[in-house]
């Protein structure tokens, strides 16, 4: 187990904003909150890459930039590989003495769920296998929001998107979401975690752990999109909290194969409570689609139970 890392309020109110205010992300967007929490948590200088997507287009409109730290955008699928190139350069330039041996940089790649679950999955997998020291952060808003709410493999079953519209025959996305966090953990890298910005202590502690990991680390962080999820922009944090209270989005971490579930709701709420707050699931509450809500509940329950078993199993092994 890694040393105990604590996060306090002082960590959140640092004066030097790495992502400056005045960016063009929507009101209520989860992404800037997640990014700022992560960047506040990390003490060293950082170098960032960002996949094509909302965060990228909203923070780098030429001739302006919202980034007070080095930042690169290459393309949609390759934010991970791009930052590993920078990390390789860092190693090489230390070797040749152009960069002092004691210089510290934390390399971080940000991508949306489309960039992570879909088009960039191979790139992330390759970067993890090669063992670069970097953090990959998936800003997960569960669809291609930047291009207008098209489904991704992170989109939950039943969600109404522009490419899985809730129609008279097909009630939204037919497939379940891809188990990205588990796929990342299956790479046997030092640190993988799932997090949510409403619990900033947990997210920032995970960012610190990811930065301290001896190798690649992945954070899959829920980042609601009021436009795509069809919720009021003041409900973002409430929705993420409910996602964890319903166990739709468990907070957990995998350290060297050992699973720790960071939050176990005393009173596990029905997933319908979470679905009901979002317009993208409105059609599920028609009587004809009640079966779908039941099915989603069953899937959430079985995944939650699986996670608890994994925790028990792996913790036991290391006890």
């Amino acid at each position: 187990m890694a040393e105990r890392i604590r996060v306090n309020l002082r960590d959140v109110i640092k004066p030097d904003e790495r992502l400056a205010p005045g960016h063009r992300l929507c009101a209520g967007c989860g992404e800037p909150t997640v990014v700022r929490q992560i960047l506040h948590a990390i003490e060293t200088p950082v170098v960032l890459s960002t996949a094509t997507g909302c965060l990228e287009v909203s923070t780098s409109v030429y001739p302006f930039t919202s980034w007070n730290v080095p930042w690169i955008h290459n393309a949609f699928e390759n934010a991970s590989t791009t930052i590993t190139g920078a990390e390789a350069a860092f190693k090489a330039l230390k070797r040749t003495g152009k960069i002092p041996e004691d210089k510290e940089i934390t390399f971080i790649a940000f991508g949306g769920d489309g960039a992570s679950y879909d088009i960039g999955l191979q790139f992330i997998s390759g970067a993890l296998e090669r063992g670069h020291k970097f953090i990959y952060v998936c800003l997960n808003n569960e669809a291609y929001m930047n291009t207008g709410i098209q489904r991704s493999s992170a989109t939950p079953k039943g969600a109404d998107t522009t490419t899985t519209p809730a129609g008279s025959v097909i009630p939204g996305k037919p497939q379940w979401r891809k188990p990205f966090t588990r796929i990342m953990a299956a790479h046997d890298i030092p640190y993988v975690a799932q997090a949510s910005p409403h619990n900033f202590r947990d997210l920032m502690r995970k960012a610190k752990k990811a930065a301290a990991a001896d190798g690649p680390a992945v954070l899959n962080v829920m980042a609601p999109c009021p436009r795509g999820w069809r919720h009021s922009s003041d409900q973002t944090m409430a929705i993420t909290e409910l996602a964890t209270d319903t166990c739709y989005w468990p907070l957990y971490e995998v350290e060297d194969g050992v699973v720790t579930v960071n939050y176990k709701p005393r009173d596990k709420k029905p997933v319908a409570d979470w679905l009901r707050l979002q317009g993208r699931f409105r059609h599920l509450f028609r009587p004809a689609n009640a079966w779908l809500v039941e099915e989603i509940q069953e899937r959430v329950d079985s995944e939650w139970e699986r996670l608890l078993r994994e925790e028990e199993c792996t913790q036991g092994k290391h006890a």
Partner: protein, 398 residues
């Protein structure tokens, strides 16, 4: 000048020797036939500690170029190599590398593009990338591939240019063909390329930069104009680096390699290894009193248009041989032909009969007797005044 040490090397090995001498900071590469030897040899240098390079063995060519972009933006001297489908997979990032003005040097061991699958030489891979904003050198031999690699790095990193360069050689024919290659002393190469000191780097965390911003309609056009103007104005810089290298190596480094062109009535323009085959034929024909010549551009991007026109304008007829088809171009012309005919028209040289020959696709052997038929055709064209078919094929069955 410094004396070269001569060794028997294939073209791929010649390039990996140049890379060893350059000792780049980062090489990110993925294996593909016939480029594999470049990466394999270089990996051995890494494994044996002969170079200081951080080698990034990526999981695809797209990732190779993606990592090169990240490393180059981080201030590293960066090289890579690929072929054919690998280059095609990089396509998206080729434009990003040039748009970001990152001086990455890439060896392309030319190979046919699928489909049908074929691993042998033609130029359809790099010719398809001719508009991607990369400079392009083409090598006739392992020696030229070696020399072009070293020159390419120096040119790419010039403060007045900062553009990526492809250094191309013919797959198998040159890449796997063992020849006598002269290597400069390591110190001479390192002194020639110098130390890379970029003005901007992602790793300079005290002076943060934003790389790869997005342009609305109000800036993109201006940025692309800047990019094309840098390329357009680069010829003098390229020539001066070539001359400096020529003095160092005592090997001629012309932009255009001309043989028999001073008084040629009939000329063939061709890139890479087939220029050697053509030159041997021209030598024999000139011994018989025929006024024939061969022109081999060593540089294709930026296109040395005025130099080529000056070289061929007094000919009676000219054949342009293309190892690629520009599908859907007029009559399915090749890319070299379209550029040369365009250059002639712009120069007002519209009366010179020029014929296009597509040859050697998918590694089809192109022999001296085949090339001899091209010169025979040119004599007929000049004698009759009838150009005949604009696009013809050499070495094609049926």
């Amino acid at each position: 000048m410094v004396a070269s040490q001569f060794m028997p090397l294939d073209g791929a090995n010649a390039v990996s020797q140049a890379m060893r001498q350059i000792n780049p900071d980062v090489v990110a590469a993925y294996p593909i036939t016939p480029q594999t030897a470049v990466v394999q040899n270089f990996s051995q240098y890494v494994a044996d500690g002969i170079v200081d390079t951080e080698f990034v063995p990526v999981e695809s060519e797209h990732a190779a170029m993606s990592a090169c972009v990240g490393a180059s933006a981080a201030g590293a001297r960066v090289m890579t190599a690929t072929s054919a489908n690998g280059l095609a997979l990089m396509w998206e990032v080729l434009y990003i590398a040039s748009g970001l003005r990152l001086p990455i040097v890439m060896t392309v061991v030319n190979r046919a593009l699928s489909s049908p699958l074929n691993i042998h030489c033609d130029h359809s891979d790099s010719m398809g990338a001719r508009d991607s904003g990369w400079l392009q050198f083409y090598a006739e031999s392992g020696q030229e591939a070696y020399d072009n690699t070293i020159k390419s790095l120096r040119i790419a990193e010039s403060k007045d240019l900062l553009l990526p360069v492809m250094s191309c050689q013919d797959g198998f024919i040159t890449g796997h063909g063992v020849e006598r290659v002269g290597l400069l002393p390591d110190e001479a190469v390192r002194e020639f390329v110098g130390s890379y000191e970029p003005e901007l780097s992602l790793l300079d965390t005290d002076n943060p930069i934003t790389v790869g911003a997005w342009d609305f309609t109000d800036h993109y056009f201006e940025h692309k104009r800047q990019q094309t103007e840098v390329m357009n104005a680069s010829m003098a810089l390229i020539e001066s680096v070539c001359q400096e290298y020529e003095q160092l190596s005592e090997r001629p480094q012309p932009i255009l390699d001309c043989y028999g062109m001073d008084d040629a009535e009939y000329a063939i323009i061709v890139l890479s290894s087939t220029a050697g085959t053509t030159r041997s034929l021209v030598r024999e024909m000139r011994a018989e009193g025929k006024k024939v010549g061969v022109l081999k551009p060593r540089l294709f991007r930026p296109f040395p248009a005025t130099q080529i026109v000056d070289c061929i304008k007094n000919c009676k007829a000219v054949a342009v041989m293309d190892r690629a088809i520009s599908f859907g171009a007029h009559k399915g012309m090749g890319p070299l032909f379209t550029d040369i005919t365009s250059a002639l028209y712009v120069a007002g040289e519209c009366d010179l009969p020029v014929v296009n020959y597509i040859y050697g696709l998918g590694g089809r052997d192109t022999t001296p007797p085949m090339i001899a038929t091209v010169f025979e055709d040119l004599e007929k064209v000049a004698a009759t005044g009838d150009r005949g078919d604009l696009v013809r094929y050499v070495g094609l069955r049926g």
